[in-house]
């Protein structure tokens, strides 16, 4: 039987209240949202907070809205307490960021997705977490609030490495802002051992096409293969080029070289490099197809 070590429980009533509680209870306090990463860790006694601050009543952080913000232009603002199920069922997301739908379909299972939140997923920063890669690829901005106010962090600044983010003990991730680019398409694909499992490997891509059909902007990211950043190596190769199968093959090759997977029970290194290569080709193909579909007069 797995039972967490004893702790005190308190439910926050607002973001300000949650910040005050974090401040009051100090470094041995932890915030719980969906709890589907933290509670299993507490049951295994890998995490032993003295205080658990439940933020499930912060409905003010459960929203999805298209907005125009200074310096970022048009963005989709996603509240940190937005559940996976809500993301998966959103028409705005379907239309603007199909990569999120691709990823959400393979995150855990529908029941876990009822509880899990985007904020929890990003703050957990599991190296096999799909939404971290998705937010890197979409060049999302994390809005973090603390006693000194709000700060905006790029995903590269936010995500420091496995299980580590830039969110300080007395801060809370409030929102993720995803820039909306016209004439764009995106895709995510994962190989898993069985449904709902963590990725053996996964890849995501976002592509913007110029009026002449060439790639004007691209980002490629990988999950679970030892790369906590976008694969910048492929960007220079792809930008300015017409999307062709030959180009995708080259991007796949570069990606398989850029990643640094570990052999584990999910597979050996060469297999994971092979997946990085193959999945990169597939997501680039799909992202370009979707970008082209959003521009009626361009065909690939």
């Amino acid at each position: 039987m797995q039972i967490p070590a004893p702790f005190e429980y308190v439910r926050a009533s607002s973001v300000d209240n949650a910040l005050a509680l974090l401040d009051r209870h100090g470094p041995e306090s932890r915030v719980v949202a969906g709890g589907h990463s933290l509670l299993p860790m507490m049951k295994l006694r890998l995490a032993r907070p003295d205080w658990l601050i439940d933020i499930n009543d912060l409905f003010e952080l459960d929203y999805l809205l298209v907005d125009t913000v200074p310096n970022n232009g048009r963005v989709l603002r996603i509240g940190a307490m937005t559940r996976h199920t809500t993301l998966l069922e959103s028409d705005d997301i379907k239309r603007l960021f199909p990569i999120v739908i691709d990823a959400e379909r393979v995150i855990a299972d529908p029941i876990v997705r009822n509880r899990g939140t985007i904020g929890g997923s990003l703050c957990q920063a599991d190296p096999a977490e799909d939404l971290s890669t998705v937010c890197h690829v979409l060049e999302g901005v994390a809005v973090v609030r603390g006693p000194a106010g709000e700060r905006m962090l790029s995903m590269a600044e936010f995500h420091r490495g496995p299980y580590e983010t830039a969110v300080a003990q007395n801060e809370l991730l409030i929102e993720v802002r995803v820039p909306i680019r016209d004439d764009s398409g995106s895709a995510y694909e994962k190989v898993e051992r069985r449904i709902g499992d963590w990725a053996v490997a996964a890849a995501g891509a976002s592509v913007t096409l110029a009026a002449d059909g060439t790639i004007s902007h691209v980002a490629v990211g990988l999950t679970a293969v030892g790369l906590d950043r976008n694969v910048t190596e492929v960007e220079a190769v792809l930008v300015g080029q017409a999307p062709t199968e030959q180009l995708f093959v080259e991007a796949g090759r570069l990606t398989s070289l850029a990643c640094d997977p570990l052999a584990d029970q999910r597979g050996p290194v060469d297999y994971k490099r092979h997946l990085a290569d193959e999945l990169t080709r597939r997501v680039l193909r799909a992202a370009c197809r979707r970008a082209a579909a959003s521009i009626s007069d361009i065909t690939i």
Binding site: I3, Y9, G35, P40, M42, K43, L52, P110, V112
Partner: protein
């Protein structure tokens, strides 16, 4: 700490340690042992209950987190002596052998049909994809849920009168 919740229509107030998981609160404190306790790792889904109408894995929710919310367990599915169509469907289509996964499967099915009364077989398979059955191979479970979708009035004779009465009961 003291928590209160509505469980199967009954308001309960109880003293719990904050670390008590919902599954143990339901089984050990409330003695509602229809909710099964399986893998303890959020994988098997036999501990699924409905929280405010949505399926959750009760081994991964603290009882404290449910304070002020509404829970339905398998004991709350039937209406008196009248089985929920989902329960009837599992009987009609042999949706269980050992029965260990059944409470969770039936609650997920109920939530699915409340959300989508006419699911495709693939949607049923997706809905129960977070749950494990080691007996049936899932085919009979899918058929059981399809039976419930096709018989929203349960096993009652399908005359107009009794159907409308039954639907009110399950509304």
């Amino acid at each position: 700490m003291q928590i209160s919740m509505t469980i199967n229509g009954t308001f309960v107030t109880h003293e719990v340690e904050p670390r008590v998981l919902l599954v143990h609160f339901i089984r050990d404190d409330l003695r509602l042992t229809g909710t099964h306790w399986g893998c303890d790792t959020t994988n098997c889904g036999t501990c699924v209950v409905l929280m405010d109408g949505q399926p959750v894995k009760s081994c991964t929710v603290l009882a404290a987190m449910v304070d002020g919310h509404t829970i339905t367990t398998v004991e709350g599915l039937a209406n008196g002596a009248t089985l929920d169509p989902v329960q009837q469907g599992f009987m009609e289509e042999h949706g269980l052998q050992c029965g260990f996964c059944t409470p969770g499967m039936m609650l997920t099915a109920r939530a699915l049909l409340d959300h989508n009364p006419h699911p495709e077989p693939l949607q049923i398979r997706e809905a129960i994809s977070g749950q494990i059955c080691r007996c049936t191979g899932y085919a009979t479970i899918v058929r059981s849920i399809q039976w419930a979708a096709e018989h929203p009035a349960g096993a009652a004779p399908e005359t107009t009168t009794s159907e409308s009465t039954e639907q009110e009961v399950h509304a």
